[in-house]
C-alpha cells in the first residue's frame, strides 16, 4: 500500500465510543536501535494523521492541538540512555512548525533543566525560539495553589499552568520498578512538585489522580509514547541487557488507552524474553483501571480501536502487527 493507506477502510470496528490508538512501527532489515529525525517524522506523520482521521498532517495537527502555546513534556529521568529522544522532539517540533505554529510558541519542558541537559537537550530559556527548559529554570517554579484530585495534592509546574495552552505528552515505554509500567501517565509525575510521595501500592491510584489534576487533564491533548527501544525489565533507569528494539511509537488522544496498549506491548516483549508477567513479580499495573474508573480514558482492550501501521525505509505505509 502507498500513500492512500490511511484513507483505506480500517479493518477494525471503530465508533465514537471507542478510543483510537495507533502504533506506528519503523520496519527495516534490522531492528532499529535509534531513529533519525526524518524517520521519526515519518512515524509521527502517519500516526498523527491516523489518530486524527485526516489525510493531511497539517489538518491533523490543527484538529488535535488547539491554537496557542504548545508544551511537550519529555521524560529525562534516565539521561541519554533512556530518555525521550532528542530526534523525536525535533521531528515533532518540525511537524508543528510546518503546520504553522511559531517556534516561539513551543515549549519543551521537564522537571529540571539539569535532567534535560543530561538527556542531551539544548537548554533555551531565552526570549525567542523553541524553549527547552526545566520547571526549575529561573522565575518558573510551581503553582502557588495546591491542586487536588483523589489522593493527590500537588503543586503543578507553572509551565503547564501559566505558559502553555495545550500539552503533548512525549513519554517513553519502560518497565518501572514500582509502578510496573512507565509510559504516558507516569511521565506526568514530572509535572508535580512532590512525585516522591506517590509510589505506594504500585502507584495506584496516584498515577491516575496525577493526570486527573486540572490543568493536566484538560491541557494534555495527545500522548506519544516512544517504544523504539523498550526497557522491558530493570526500569526506569537504563539496564542494557533488558533492552528490546521494538521500533515504534504509540499515539493516541486518550492517555489511558495509549498506556493500555503500551502495557500490552511491554508484557508481550517480556514474554518473548521469557520473563514473568508484571503481576507475578509484584508490579501489577492496576492504575490504568483506576484511571478508567475516574473517567480519564479507556483501559478495556475491547473498547480500544487499535491500528498498527508499518513504515518502511522508503516511507511507504502498510498494515502491521502489534508484535
Amino acid at each position: 500500500m502507498g500513500k492512500n493507506y490511511l484513507s483505506a477502510k480500517s479493518k477494525y470496528v471503530y465508533n465514537k465510543y471507542m478510543s483510537k490508538v495507533v502504533v506506528v512501527k519503523y520496519i527495516n532489515s534490522a531492528s532499529p536501535e535509534s531513529l533519525t529525525k526524518v524517520q521519526y517524522g515519518q512515524l509521527l506523520s502517519a500516526g498523527i494523521r491516523s489518530v486524527a482521521g485526516a489525510k493531511d498532517i497539517n489538518a491533523a495537527v490543527r484538529g488535535l492541538i488547539p491554537d496557542g502555546v504548545v508544551g511537550m513534556k519529555v521524560n529525562c529521568l534516565a539521561r541519554k540512555a533512556n530518555s525521550t529522544p532528542v530526534k523525536l522532539v525535533e521531528a515533532m517540533t518540525q511537524i508543528l512548525t510546518d503546520a504553522g505554529r511559531d517556534d516561539n510558541d513551543i515549549v519543551v519542558w521537564e522537571r529540571t533543566s539539569r535532567e534535560m541537559k543530561m538527556a542531551g537537550f539544548p537548554l533555551n530559556a531565552a526570549s525567542s525560539g523553541c524553549r527547552f527548559m526545566g520547571t526549575d529554570a529561573n522565575a518558573v517554579g510551581y503553582s502557588d495553589d495546591i491542586y487536588t484530585s483523589g489522593e493527590v495534592n500537588s503543586r503543578v509546574s507553572s509551565i503547564l499552568t501559566d505558559v502553555v495552552d495545550s500539552n503533548i505528552n512525549l513519554a517513553l515505554l519502560k518497565d518501572h520498578s514500582i509502578a510496573g509500567l512507565s509510559a504516558g501517565l507516569k511521565n506526568m509525575y514530572g509535572a508535580i512538585h512532590n512525585p516522591n510521595k506517590y509510589h505506594d501500592n504500585n502507584c495506584d491510584p496516584f498515577c491516575a489522580d496525577v493526570s486527573m489534576l486540572e490543568p493536566l487533564r484538560s491541557k494534555n491533548r495527545l500522548t506519544i509514547i516512544d517504544a523504539v527501544r523498550v526497557q522491558y525489565d530493570g526500569g526506569p533507569g537504563f539496564v542494557s541487557q533488558y533492552i528490546h528494539n521494538y521500533g515504534g511509537l504509540i499515539i493516541s488522544a486518550d492517555p489511558v488507552a495509549a498506556d493500555r496498549i503500551g502495557l500490552e506491548i511491554l508484557e508481550r516483549i517480556r514474554k518473548r524474553h521469557e520473563m514473568r508477567p508484571l503481576r507475578e513479580v509484584g508490579r501489577q499495573v492496576t492504575y490504568l483501571d483506576t484511571a478508567a474508573k475516574r473517567g480519564l480514558g479507556v483501559a478495556d482492550m475491547s473498547a480500544i480501536a487499535l491500528e498498527v501501521i508499518n513504515v518502511n525505509a522508503g516511507g511507504r505505509l502498510s498494515a502491521g502487527e502489534l508484535i
Binding site: 526570549s127 526549575d136 522565575a139 516522591n196 526506569p236 533507569g237
Partner: protein, 379 residues
Amino acid sequence: MKRRTFIRCVGCTAAAASILEPRLVPEYLRGFENACAFDFTKGLSSVEAKYYKKLEGGGIECGICPRHCRVTDLERGYCGTRENRADTYYTLIYGLPCALNIDPIEKKPLYHYYPGTKALSLATAGCNVNCKFCQNWEISQSRPEQTDNLDISPKAMIDIAEKRKVPHIAYTYSEPVIFYEYMSDIARLGHEKGVKSVMITGGYIEKEPLAELMPHLDAIKVDLKSIREDYYRDIVGGELKPVLDALIQIREAGMWLELVYLVVPTLNDTEAEFTELAGWIKTYLGPDVPLHFSRFYPQYLLKNLPPTPTKTLEKAHEICKAEGLNYVYLGNLPGHRAESTYCPGCGQVLIERRGYRIYRYELDGNRCKNCNREIPGLF
C-alpha cells in the same frame, strides 16, 4: 505576570541564575565565611547516605526511617531528599538548609530545657510523612531543588552559633530525620565545641540510627500527633507504632524529652483520646514528661476545619492532669495560664510565660523556691 511577558522574562532571568542572590542570606550570616546562598549550578550535595543496604538484583533499601523505601537507580525515596545513583544512596541536602533562624527555645516548644535561651534553628527541604495540617508544608513537602537553600557546612554552622553566642542548635521546622547525616555531623562537632543540640521531630525513625544519634543530642521534642493508628495512616501518612517505640527508646536512654499534641477539631479531639494519651504517657514514659497541647489553625490540606476551640484544649489539659501527668501545657494560646509551669508539690508558679517570653522565674537550680521540690528537666 502575563504569559507572554513570562516567556520573555524567562530569558532575561535565566542569565542571572548563577549569580548568588544576597537577599537569600539572612542579615546575621553576612560576613561569615562559608555561609552563602547555594549555587544551584553546582548540583545538590552528594554525600553518601547512612543506613542503607544494597538489594540483590539491584536497588537499595533505606533504613533511616520505618518507611524502608526501596529505591532503584535514579529514583528517590519518599522524602524526596535521598537518591540512588548506580546503587549508591546519597543525601542531597547535606549542608543545604533552606531555613535558618535564631529562635527562643520556648518556640520549639521546650519548656524544661534551659528556659529563656536561644537556639540556632535550621531545616532542609523534605519530610518522611505528609501531615495534612503541616504549617511548614512549603518546605517539608518540597524537594531540595524547589527551595531557596543556603550553603553551610557543619563547621560553619557551629561557627555561626559560637559567634552569635547561641548555646543550642535546633533541627526543626521540617523533619530532621531526613537530614540525618547533616544533623549528626553538626551535633557531633557542636559537642566538641560546647554547643548543644536539640531535635524537633515526628519521631518516625528507626531504632539503630536513633541510638547512634542520641549521644550527640541534649533534648528531643516529639510531635505525637495522635494515639490512634488510623489517624497516623489517614492524616499523617505514617504509622503510630514506630513513633511510640521511639519515645520509649528516647526515655530509656535518659534523654530529655517533651511532647506536643496538636489538637485538630473533629479528628483527634475526643475525651477518650485524651484519656488514652495520658494513660499511655504515664505508663510508658512516666508522669514527668511535659505534654504540650497545641492549637490548630486551618492550613495546607485542612483549610476546611476551624481553629481548635479554647475549651477543647482546656478539657484536654484537665483530663491529662486528672490522669496524673505533672506538666501539661497549652500552646498557641498566648496569655493563657496553662503556658506557665507550676510546682506539682505546692502549686507555686515556677516559670510564668506569655508567648515565648518569661515574666517570672521561681526556680533555684532545678528546685521549687517555695517547697524545694525537684523539677525535672535541664535548667
